[in-house]
Amino acid sequence: MAASSIAARPGIVLEHRPWWRSRMTIVAAIVGAMVICHLTLSRTLSWPDSLVWHSLTHYLDNIQNWLAAESAKTDPNFAYRLIHWISSGLDALVRWLYHLLSSWLTWPGTTLLGGLLAWRFGGRRAAVIMVGSFASFAALGLWDDSMQTLALMLVAVALSLLVGVPLGIVAGRSDRFNGLITPVLDAMQIVPAFAYLMPVVIFFSVGPAAAVITTMVYSVPPAVRITALGIRSVPANTVEAALALGSTKRQLLWKVQLPLARRLLLLSVNQTILFALSMVVIAGLINTEGGLGAPVTNGLNSDPALAILAGVAIVVMAIALDRVTEAIAERTDTAKRHLDVAGRKRARLATGAVFLSIAVAAILGHLLSAGSAYTRWTAQDWLRTQVQNALDYVQKPTTFLFKDITNPVGNFLVAHMLQPLDTFLVETPWFITLAGLAAIAFVLSGLRPATTTILMFALIGAIGEWQDAMDTFSQVLVATAIAVAIGIVLGVLAAEIPWVSRAIRPVNDVLQTLPQLVYVIPFVYIFPISYVPGLIASVLYAFPVVVRLVERGVRDVAPETVEAAGAFGATRLQTLVKVKIPLARDAIMLGINQGIIMVLAVVVIAGLVGSGALGYAVAAGLQRGQFGIGVVASIAILAMGIALDRVTRGNRSAAKGGRS
């Protein structure tokens, strides 16, 4: 073991290039050249109108019209009927589940259902968390919305697993299929949710079905990936032993691979739930039947305090489901729990008792006419007043917080970072910008990513989104720079100092379970300055990932290498700067890659709250039913996502290739 890891390490040879050939210097030179062009050339050379494909919007509107026409016919064609069948089926499923939770079980029954199931499979702590979360939905006065969201999430999660787990099993057993599906999954996760809202709405119109599909696009990939990982993590010698005894493929799957992949399968359930929940708010935009997303989005302008309460409810739901599924995964591990015959019988009795008491609670609920949704004695009004007071305080121009912190910081960000960059990108002649970006992509990651960059940005220009895209792009760049800077500093500190790591972890956990838009809400009030809320929200959303990857990268540097550096008398700082950070380069690059994609996702969502640009076009398209416009902006977001991903990811593979 030790021998192989020592043997593997010396392969890492850091590049030694003269300073004038270092990548950063070349990039700086390119940027310098772009600035010179920007200053000297005429400033009116934005993407030429003659190069824009104006009729695209028109064609897209036609698709919508075609669908509308088909729906009016008495005998619509097959494609329409299929879409309609899926859409109405999903609608019915979500509605049915909502009715089950709400009108049939009523709130006492539902609470008991959640609590007792958590108790039976996850233990006492899980039950307390579950009941606590239901109690807080009630206390927040958001019971009904919470049940809507819960129903939607359960359907989306169940379907994601239904689709994702079998695909993951196939991907786990076949390298070819794995190779085919991986880029598809990548694409599903790179594309900001905002970009596929429009197409989904066109095909499924607004309602639960569209919300389920939107959620699934995001929550199927983790189900597939983690399941495949689980199948692949089954030790090869165990598989071989089972085959040697004459197992068929099917016996191998059911008796060996699935049971041994159990932990990861349950993790895939857990992750699918969290991914699905992070889409609640966005799904709320296109689900007209209530849920926690609606108060968030509507409340942003009209009732911010309520929006924040709904945000809290979402967070509570996310944390509760996360902890409970984790507890269940832990407790039902057969290799850890020895159940004799009596124990098994007791467990079965307990399960029976659970369902009996749920039935009793539901019947009692009906008899005592407890009402389907909990409405009595909520703390909503009181909480709203408190939150509103806090918001008022934050926004009052005379307070210390506003006058001395948020206002100057916000203004600085806008005046000295966002605006100059935006002006630079928008007003530099388009061909200079395009050539400069491609050259940077080439220097950073090679020919193919550079080609992708040219194609994608040309596409953005051709569909007439150049200006908005440059706007969004400047926000993404600034936010990524800040997130990566914070992430690297904190990540390195966390890797070096144990208590920093301990302090950061829970913060990271919470930040990562929050749905994207929930971040934005508070900052709309705390930093009510043009693009700043979106900017800060995207930094907050992205930096935990950078921290985590950097921390792991720095930690994972081989102890032998660190020891050797110490033996040569390197100080701790020298070891860090000269050994650990350079060796953690791959992890840091991966952090930048993930960070930039997450920033893009939030920056476009922030279009909803006034960050303008591409996100605004999608939001406007949604709200006013201008589908063509929305879809065109979506395509631009998608193109930018692909370009950014390829350029930052290409760097990773280039770094690997250069070393081996």
Binding site: P235, N237, A242, G246, L260, A335
Partner: protein, 351 residues
């Protein structure tokens, strides 16, 4: 090099149970285009440089007779694991023919192959390959379970076999709760539970401590004596090979460089490679009287009698204390004589 297994006195009952004839295994793209061309005879590294293929097993043939323990020995990477896996097509051989219990494995259909793996052979692995989510009892019963044997029956049988390996108290434990040696006992029990005709061991004790390894070898010898199973045993440890094997095949770079009884290997190594292996083995511990005896001359039949399979070491006290050359007998018949000179030469050859 003396061939033929009959020279060690081991008696074959009937035709071979395992017949391997010209097996090749080449990993890599276009592997099937290498066999039969001059490329196939290139050294491994050259073949790899030229075609990108790795020749793991090259033109290997051998027969294993019922009740025999056939050991395959070689350095790591010499192709032993690949060879043993081709026998039940856990790895598809690139060329060659394999017969197991009279059936052609290479031509077997998917179902025939399953039946073969279920009823004819069993395998014990270096890293145990136990199912972490099942109790010891269910691990041992696994082979019967995939055959479709009812739960009560397979648990009864698994219990029996666990007793055989001395693990009856661990039946309800999980593999992770057992020591390495105990885990491999479970592996042994699992292999024996289906009562196979052929047992395949792939370096089963390499992952164990030396002391436990010795214990486990004793266990295998005991089980072998009790059940008389035909066995193919892979190892890279020569003492282990000599202890267990009726015949030993030594592999190098995918080929068998020598195949013979322990004393044939020790007494007349085929080349430097084998010689390096056997150099440190005390010859007198392995060579038997058969190896050093000469024709009996008239009048020599009255010396002390010793079985022809006695090792030189064990014969020394008798021969040393006798004035006359010692007679080697096989089945009550004198087949040769051994004098002090022969013994001294055999022992001297050790240095």
């Amino acid at each position: 090099m003396r061939q033929s297994a009959s020279s060690n006195g081991h008696r074959h009952s009937g035709p071979p149970l395992i017949k391997a004839d010209g097996i090749w295994k080449i990993f890599g793209r276009n592997a099937d285009k290498v066999v039969g061309t001059p490329d196939a005879d290139l050294p491994r590294s050259e073949l790899r440089a030229k075609t990108g293929c790795v020749a793991a097993v090259r033109d290997v043939s051998f027969d294993v007779y019922p009740g025999e323990v056939f050991v395959v020995m070689g350095l790591s990477g010499s192709g032993k694991s690949t060879l043993v896996r081709t026998l039940i097509r856990l790895i598809e051989p690139t060329a060659g023919r394999i017969e197991l219990d009279g059936r052609d494995v290479t031509a077997a259909s998917h179902d025939e192959l399953l039946q073969l793996r279920r009823h004819t052979s069993s395998m014990v692995f270096q890293h145990f390959g136990l199912l972490a989510h099942r109790t010891v009892l269910d691990n041992v019963a696994f082979g019967l379970e995939v055959q479709g044997v009812s739960k009560a029956q397979r648990h009864a049988r698994a219990g029996e076999v666990l007793k055989l390996v001395g693990l009856e108290d661990a039946a309800s434990q999980f593999p992770s709760e057992l020591s390495g040696g105990m885990q491999q006992r479970v592996g042994l029990a699992r292999a024996f539970a289906v009562d196979p005709k052929v047992l395949l061991y792939d370096e089963p004790f390499s992952a164990l401590d030396p002391l436990i390894r010795r214990d486990m070898q004793d266990e295998v010898i005991r089980l072998q004596e009790e059940t008389g199973k035909t066995t193919v045993f892979i190892t890279h440890d020569l003492p282990e090979a000599l202890r267990l094997g009726d015949r030993i095949a030594i592999m190098r770079d995918g080929r068998i460089v020598q195949l013979g009884t322990p004393e044939e290997l020790v007494g007349s190594p085929a080349d430097e490679y084998v010689e390096n292996f056997v150099r440190d083995i005390p010859r007198s511990h392995v060579l038997t009287l058969r190896w050093i005896m000469r024709e009996a001359r008239a009048g020599e039949e009255d010396g002390p009698r010793l079985d022809v399979a006695t090792t030189v070491r064990n014969a020394v006290p008798v021969i040393a204390s006798s004035e006359r050359p010692c007679c080697a007998v096989d089945d009550g018949r004198i087949v040769g004589v051994v004098d002090k000179d022969a013994v001294l030469t055999a022992i001297a050859g050790e240095e």
